[in-house]
Symmetry: C3
């Protein structure tokens, strides 16, 4: 189980991660990360300008679980449905026992009244390691294309 992680393994982790979110299995969401970890949401413009600020930052599992709880409370009144579509992943670096991967994605949101919209586009910048018997994200940076993000707190991304 030790040693290098393949691009296919990293891609499978990312795939399972978004299916879990789309299924609303939010309690599973933190288990995709190591503990401690780095989970960060930022914007493309922030990244381009070199601004250090994030929209959201969690650095351990307890914080991730807090976020799930907040999300579940917030979502009681608006049961949207989300659908992530992943493009092909690109390996950025594979060094020692860490693989760094980027994956473009879009997320579509459907309201209960049936209306659909493009919720957000962006990319995942991930560091994947082997941890307690499976692959997990040691760090995940979600880079959003739009800079306005007021509603984005709705779900984990």
């Amino acid at each position: 189980m030790a040693g290098m992680i393949t691009a296919d393994e990293a891609r499978a982790l990312q795939r399972d991660y978004v299916y879990a979110i789309d299924d609303g299995k939010l309690a599973e969401w933190p288990t995709y990360f190591t503990d401690p970890c780095l989970y960060k949401i930022t914007t493309r413009e922030n990244l381009r300008q070199g601004y250090p600020l994030s929209i959201m930052l969690c650095d351990n599992q307890a914080m991730l679980f807090d976020r799930v709880e907040a999300t579940e409370k917030a979502n009681i009144y608006e049961p949207h449905m989300y659908r992530h579509i992943l493009s092909d992943a690109q390996v950025i670096k594979a060094e020692g026992e860490v693989i760094s991967v980027r994956t473009s994605f879009i997320c579509v949101r459907t309201m209960l009244d049936g209306s659909m919209s493009l919720f957000v586009s962006g990319e995942y910048l991930d560091e994947v390691v082997r941890d307690k018997g499976r692959c997990r994200f040691r760090s995940k940076t979600v880079v959003l294309d739009p800079s306005r993000i007021d509603t984005l707190i709705a779900i984990p991304l």
Copy 2:
């Protein structure tokens, strides 16, 4: 040719299936299924609530061919173009000679006047088997995210 179907083979079948639909090769569409088969369109809300109702259900190739014929007649007056985009497939179960796979997708529609829209998002829940020399869908459940589906009869999904 007998025996287990790989995830790659199931994914290739799903890929060829959507390219055939997008190309308007509707006469090919039924050949992607075994006979008898199960082809079902439902909504995420139906599935979540455990409602048994489907929007559409075909259980043999003759019914699929009937549907193609209806589609071709209906489409004479509105030659839209469709484009499916598939996310990564996830194997749900691989038992004996059946593989069960899910695949998130979106479908974009372009009208002849050039206007584009997100037509539908959802996922395919498929059972793939080997049948008469190639992989085919023994069952395909198309789970649509939106619950309103009045225009969905336009094409096979």
Copy 3:
């Protein structure tokens, strides 16, 4: 290095190509092609009707570099962000040292004010060869679903 190109290699080339475009690395864009090459943008309707006209045609690297320069000038005043999402690639033909592949895609555009829209959908029809130590496009035909294309000159596709 010589010999057949695999479907995976062709897919990786297409993936790297769209990440380079989305990153705004336009100076890299021409290096994805052989010299001479064939780069063509057309519409699905054109292709269906058999019209020979293209929206754009470049047949060597110098022309591609000219296009980059024009794009960079044009974009000074409107720094949009683009995000390509690729569906699964389908091998059309693999003969000798050329592989022909098609890939459905959508491209989402985000304006600096944060508004997002589905910019274009379509497919890539590519011929990939090995050339000077790596895979490159000997020809790339970008088939756009919409027929109206006035703003499409904004970026390479």
